[in-house]
């Protein structure tokens, strides 16, 4: 059931990257009469929407966590390549202690070199010159940061829609309670007036 409530006020977007926007309702009564829903159905619809938003939020948060872990990794690689480049001119070898296994370290002597090997994933490692490696890593870093920005914007949009939906649910519920109370009061008032 798609919500196309004409009484909703214009939000800036109707959807963003597959996430539907929650239409803001100016007036609950108009909304209910125009959509032909009774309060309970309307509440059920919005509750379901809220659940769907939550599912998407979980997915986006997981993606965000992945990216946030990836970025420091790339930065570390860039640091190492920069160190190797700095050492290139001097002719000295770089001594480094690296972890062979948990708690066990070994010493490596890294000669002056022009190239490094980069692990690209999927059991593939390619040899690059230091400059190319630097450029590739910087590119990856830029892309990761850009993706993260887009993701954060998506999450903000999503949270706005969640808030709008929560407020709508509260308003429909309140309106319904108000209506029931008015209905209860009116017959009593009429009975009192008659007697």
């Amino acid at each position: 059931m798609s919500s196309s409530s004409p009484s909703g006020s214009g939000s800036d977007l109707t959807e963003r990257r597959g996430i539907p926007a929650a239409k803001f309702i100016q007036d609950v009564e108009t909304y209910l009469s125009q959509s032909g829903l009774d309060p309970n159905s309307a509440l059920a619809f919005h509750q379901e929407r809220l659940q769907q938003y939550k599912v998407v939020e979980m997915k986006l948060l997981a993606q965000q966590r992945d990216l946030q872990a990836k970025i420091p990794d790339i930065e570390k690689c860039l640091e190492v390549v920069a160190t190797l480049e700095a050492k290139k001119g001097t002719g000295e070898a770089l001594l480094a202690d690296f972890e062979v296994s948990e708690g066990i370290y070994s010493r490596a002597c890294i000669e002056d070199t022009d190239s490094v090997c980069l692990w690209l994933g999927a059991n593939v490692m390619l040899e690059y010159s230091c400059e190319e490696a630097s450029a590739l890593l910087k590119n990856n870093l830029e892309n990761a940061k850009a993706s993260l920005e887009v993701l954060v914007a998506d999450l903000q949009f999503l949270r706005d829609q969640v808030t709008v939906t929560q407020v709508t649910i509260a308003r429909v519920y309140n309106w319904d309670v108000h209506q029931r109370r008015v209905k209860q009061v009116t017959p009593t008032a009429i009975a009192a007036a008659d007697s």
Binding site: S9, F24, Q26, K76, C77, E79, V80, T83, L94, L95, A96, D97, F98, E99, Y105, A108, Q156, R159, D160, T163, V164, Q166, V167, A170, R171, Y173, N174, W175, V177, H178, R181
Partner: protein
């Protein structure tokens, strides 16, 4: 942040402006939580660098094993000292920036709270649960 129904059942009109204020408040609230985490890790990093600097002064080896990426490179002591100073400065600066951002956001949130409570009184709850 929760929006609770009004117990008196009075009909409270919610305008688009109110909704936008609520949305902005929610965004700021989330941002504050993220900032708190960032500030915590920046503070930790600053402390670690302090400790490292102090250890360096106490140690009298010429070659220090300095962590670059996943390996420990043998670097002369002076270079390490310079590097640690630089990192400390960068971290402290970013910590300052984060704290300033948090302060400004907290002020904005207080202002929004005033506006929203003025309109909705009991019908809205903007406190941390």
């Amino acid at each position: 942040m929760q929006q609770q129904g009004s117990k008196s059942g009075s009909e409270m009109e919610v305008t688009w402006e109110d909704q936008q204020n609520i949305n902005i408040f929610s965004r700021l609230n989330n941002r504050v939580h993220d900032l708190d985490d960032d500030i915590k890790s920046a503070k930790e990093k600053c402390e670690n660098l302090e400790d490292a600097g102090n250890e360096l002064i106490l140690a009298d080896e010429e070659m220090v094993r300095f962590q670059i990426g996943e390996v420990f490179a043998h670097v002369p002591r002076d270079d390490v000292e310079t590097k640690i100073e630089e990192m400390k400065e960068a971290t402290c600066k970013s910590l300052e920036k984060l704290e300033q951002e948090k302060e400004s956001i907290v002020t904005q949130m207080a202002a929004l709270k005033k506006v929203l409570y003025a309109k909705f009184k009991d019908s809205i709850n903007l406190e941390e649960d």
